[in-house]
Assembly symmetry: C2
Homo-oligomer: 330 residues x 2
């Protein structure tokens, strides 16, 4: 009856059980040098009581919490869930835990989550947000993916510009004579925006004509179908190669094309962006520019844990690659 059964055992309980002082228990728990006989007695007591360190007491002393907050827009999108997955692996390998939030692209939730993460005294934040309004504090190390907040917040992204250019090159290489670029969403006010610029640059360098169809976020998909129909005359499309800003859009476009009676890749070739694979790790769902998600994750984790923030670059740009997924001829 000396203790409530319900409350978990504390270090004090362990100390009493082992007949040693509190500080001794602490040292044993933390692997600091301590007399062999003491160590044994403490370890026994720990087991006997099934003692677990209370991280809250630990964190209070101002030490590390070994938690990194990760913020992504949505877990249903395979690209984002893959990012989360890879970050989780990297963190776990280093003994860190991941406080994950999927914000549903909601600016309010995003802002709240940043505040919430600071309250939680996380050791750092990795943030994938396209919200241009997001305010981030500089008290907590923050690394951004795909979005450049300014020189003080390091940003990790894949080579979106190079990827856009690569898409153009690959389409031409496969025989396309007339290209189009399709994009939806304010999702692209940031680094991914460069996909368009790279694409244009590629087309111009190769001397290939191109069209652009870029619509705002929230625009219904039917706008793209309308665009396709506008360029559809006598059973033929004006272009024979389409670069879509994401695999997700590419997928929808391919459906539309097939519905219109066009064959992919025979009549029109399509390239997406992201490198999404079905069921996460099987074949590519379309020909695509593959983002190096593992490397992005590794880079973010390494950077967010870097103690000397002055050593961090403002922007890290990682190389993309091309993968044929059957919606191009090669």
């Amino acid at each position: 009856m000396s203790r409530q059964q319900s409350s978990a055992p504390t270090m004090k309980d362990v100390a009493r059980e082992a007949g040693v002082a509190l500080g001794t228990v602490s040292k044993v728990i933390n692997g600091l040098p301590v007399g062999e006989s003491y160590r044994l007695r403490v370890e026994e007591a720990v087991k006997a009581l099934n003692y677990r360190v209370n991280n809250y007491a630990r964190g209070l002393k101002g030490g590390q919490t070994f938690i990194i907050a990760v913020m992504i827009p949505n877990l249903l999108n395979p690209y984002f869930s893959r990012v989360a997955h890879c970050i989780n692996l990297e963190l776990a390998a280093r003994g860190y835990k991941m406080l994950l939030c999927s914000t549903e692209f909601d600016p309010i939730q995003e802002q709240n989550y940043v505040i919430s993460a600071e309250q939680q005294k996380v050791d750092g934040i990795i943030c994938l947000s396209y919200n241009p309004e997001l305010e981030v504090s500089e008290d907590v190390p923050l690394i951004s993916i795909d979005r450049y907040f300014g020189a003080k917040i390091p940003c990790v992204a894949s080579d979106n510009y190079g990827g856009g250019r690569l898409a153009a090159e690959k389409l031409v290489e496969n025989g396309c004579k007339n290209l189009a670029f399709l994009r939806i969403g304010s999702v692209l006010t940031n680094e991914p925006n460069k996909r368009r610029d790279g694409f244009i640059n590629g087309c111009e360098a190769l001397g290939v004509p191109y069209s652009l169809k870029i619509v705002d976020d929230g625009t219904p998909y039917s706008e793209f179908e309308a665009f396709l129909r506008e360029h559809f005359h006598g059973g033929k499309l004006d272009f024979d190669g389409i670069f879509c800003v994401t695999d997700s859009l590419a997928h929808q476009i391919i459906d539309s094309l097939r519905t219109m009676g066009l064959r992919v890749p025979e009549d029109v070739q399509v390239v997406g962006f992201d490198g999404i694979r079905s069921f996460g790790d099987l074949e590519y769902t379309c020909s695509t520019i593959v983002q190096p998600v593992e490397e992005i994750a590794a880079q973010c984790v390494e950077m967010v844990l870097e103690k000397d923030r002055s050593r961090l670059p403002a922007l890290v740009c990682l190389p993309v690659s091309y993968a044929c997924g059957g919606t191009t001829k090669g």
Copy 2:
């Protein structure tokens, strides 16, 4: 010079700035009744100093931490990431945060994560693990998905038995005369195991012959191809309807069938399980038994937050539904 610039402001700082007592600040922060003039002064000071509550100090007093640990095997699998996604939404709506771990099906990681979550003093754990060895403590409320640990640990699952039966019924309804069930993995030592039993029950009730091919976890996929070839004579397969234990397996099987020159669904119809949709929310990737993931998540969250654990049922079984995804005739 009175304080280090680097350390975050504390309640004491706010109290000093506002010229009130510590307890008063605490009350304001927590929305407890306090004199209007005091409230104003404190709120001003909070803003001036950009004060943030330290959750670690808060958690130390034994209160709630508003964090729920969620453990799933893998974030790349769309079913699991969808579970995580839905749980995240439910938790966020209730003001809770999610400490997410993807364990890669590794029993050691799973065990460590449970311990780690307890250390972190989370308010509860939602756990999706097929590891039969996993030991869970009863100090922290734990809800299991798809795996029955015993009467003391509530389990939430979809109606796997009913789903298996439904798969058989639908295949027969669409004209199949001869069925097969394919399963891989010890992944299915638990609730999902009932899919087989339900399927068998359905076949027997309908008087339809069936074959089973059930292999251990780790078995290479080629074993299934071999099985298909064994039952392939003169361009015809012994069965015209296949129920695969997951959509992921169904997908692979469909590929193999097509490679063998069989048309799906004309020659063979295939039904999977899970309800995976491409890109998370577009069309179904195959005909499938759809798990009610939103409901599973909602149920788990509601249960894990229930204060009176004695009121919790040992097993909650949620209804599944059938969706045609083009790999059956209807």
